[in-house]
Symmetry: C2
Subunit: 386 residues, 2 copies
Amino acid sequence: MNNFEFKNPTKIIFGKDSIAKLANEIPSDAKVLLLYGGGSIKQNGIYNQVKAALKDIDHLEFGGIPANPEYDILLKALKCIKEEQITYLLAVGGGSVIDGTKFLSAAAYFEGETPWDLLTNKIPTLEGMPFGTVLTLPATGSEMNSGAVITRAETQEKLAMGGAGLFPKFSVLDPQVIQSIPERQLVNGITDAFTHVLEQYITYPAGALLQDRFAESIMQTLIEVAPKIIEDPKDYNAASNFMWSCTMALNGLIQKGVPTDWAIHAMGHELTALFGIDHARTLAIIAPSHYQYNFETKKEKLAQYGERVWQITEGSLEDKAYQAIERTEAFFKSLGIHTRLSEYTEAYEGTAELISQRFYERGWMGLGEHQNLKPEDVEHIVTMAY
Amino acid sequence: MNNFEFKNPTKIIFGKDSIAKLANEIPSDAKVLLLYGGGSIKQNGIYNQVKAALKDIDHLEFGGIPANPEYDILLKALKCIKEEQITYLLAVGGGSVIDGTKFLSAAAYFEGETPWDLLTNKIPTLEGMPFGTVLTLPATGSEMNSGAVITRAETQEKLAMGGAGLFPKFSVLDPQVIQSIPERQLVNGITDAFTHVLEQYITYPAGALLQDRFAESIMQTLIEVAPKIIEDPKDYNAASNFMWSCTMALNGLIQKGVPTDWAIHAMGHELTALFGIDHARTLAIIAPSHYQYNFETKKEKLAQYGERVWQITEGSLEDKAYQAIERTEAFFKSLGIHTRLSEYTEAYEGTAELISQRFYERGWMGLGEHQNLKPEDVEHIVTMAY
């Protein structure tokens, strides 16, 4: 097991009818900016629940944060925060709204020239404006971690930021929100969380027995509840296990003491930036090819995953590893998620070269747990995913 | 899954040679009281590592905190804290030293009449004097939770206390400390952590799929590493998994959203108070009888545990559940832990009646996950454990 440090101070308020409790978490003298996305919270009743909870708290609203939170829109929210002397942020949404709020938390206290530097210069945020979240779409784990991914249309970029100051003070997780999520987003959430675990687990054996078993636990739970949620999003028990699994998949716990990969995300982000493909679906496109291309360095963990998560008992280590990749792709397909780039766009030719070129230009030479994947490897992997 | 709230702000600093890092965590203007136990840290080199880390920090020492931290001794440390205007506590030890330090953290800020009221009146500590820990004996999980158990010889009592203000600010976990732990304490640690998981898991099915799998993960890991650690406490990888498993067994995570039992601990504490039997061994004495006595209400979880943790595939649900109890007792015995009270004392006659009587006098009528175990049930269970 590798050395590690772990601290996650986010308070989780989990369960039925928990949105009303958020008022207890916000200082009574706060001036709050309530942030949300496209307005679905106004249809499904979550907006009303949040407004009721905030009835005695001074607050303003900023709606319209899109999927893949867009820098230009966030700058408008930042202007509002400064002009209105906001002191506390409340994100009501999925990963995009929460990530956007993290950017605003950092930018509100940032003294540099332009807040985009937080992303391009990878400046960690040690203290941000305090914020809480009400999660409306389980998927990214952003509700209990300190990272965010921000998109800038102008430059077709999608970059990461973070820092110890960007954990939510609290996150409200009411699994009842799942009953109003469209199936497309539900299966995206399952795929996203599942791939988060894969990125922290399909590397090489590092003797982290407990972390491995926790990772396998999350994947087993997602596999068990996925068909139930799709069948009936009102199945509270399936929904609650789905929601908690998504949070645990990326709150830092399972990545402590182990090598992590994240190359699938790095390549996937480019597909979203270029084609606007849903984030989770880009992961399902890249993952099978990535594992086939890097089979030799990942086969021990792939086989362990096959044995423990997919109950593959027959064959050699290589057989099990190979079957594990097949089962993973089949799982995504069982959710209705396509796993080939050509199923999303006809204009896929040249994509591999373009992405490889962008990595090359950024000087980002080493992807993966060994940090040895070069732009030419990326080109191979993306080509395999056509 | 039940509703829950979860927040655990303790920073974990885990790994080889991590003791030196503790100085970064303590404010430079702090006046620290370094607390430890019987002095084994002076033999095994941990004391010297801590002293080296504290070289630029103003600090005093208080040694001699015994196993089952004794109230009268802690009062002497409390006097020192007040007289010397200590501002920060540093526990270097196992669960007893850390629990004693938690009592001191609470008592230092307590404004009531006598600090024993914190225990008898179950007063939660919302703010205590800040403290960190250097864990020298994995077992209790106290390094990453906010609870403590304090013993008072005068009244033969062993009572619990806690509160959100009693999480360590940081805990240093260096698995290398395990190589100098005597085998008796190592097997106690394994048994203690394993039983912590049982108490949070062997109840009734509550639909918490992920928490169940996490609990099973910890037990599977402990079973896997136990023989390796006993064989060779210098096996760093086994030691690191053992250490992290003990922490995860009782840092709150696996008990969220599920019913918990803790009757084994309640009865076990009495055996320690009456006979001075090591805490972990009292759990091994009580657990098999407790599960046999409460077989009907616990058989579903016992069978799941048997299937997943002990790979019992044959027989009815009842068969699997019964075998799971047998395997648990056999596991404790494989560690050299006796599982009958009569193996520890010849004076066991009348113990069941005495413990039952004490529970009755305390008005503590409902033990277990259904809170329906009465003093007469306790009498039966303890008698079965003779």
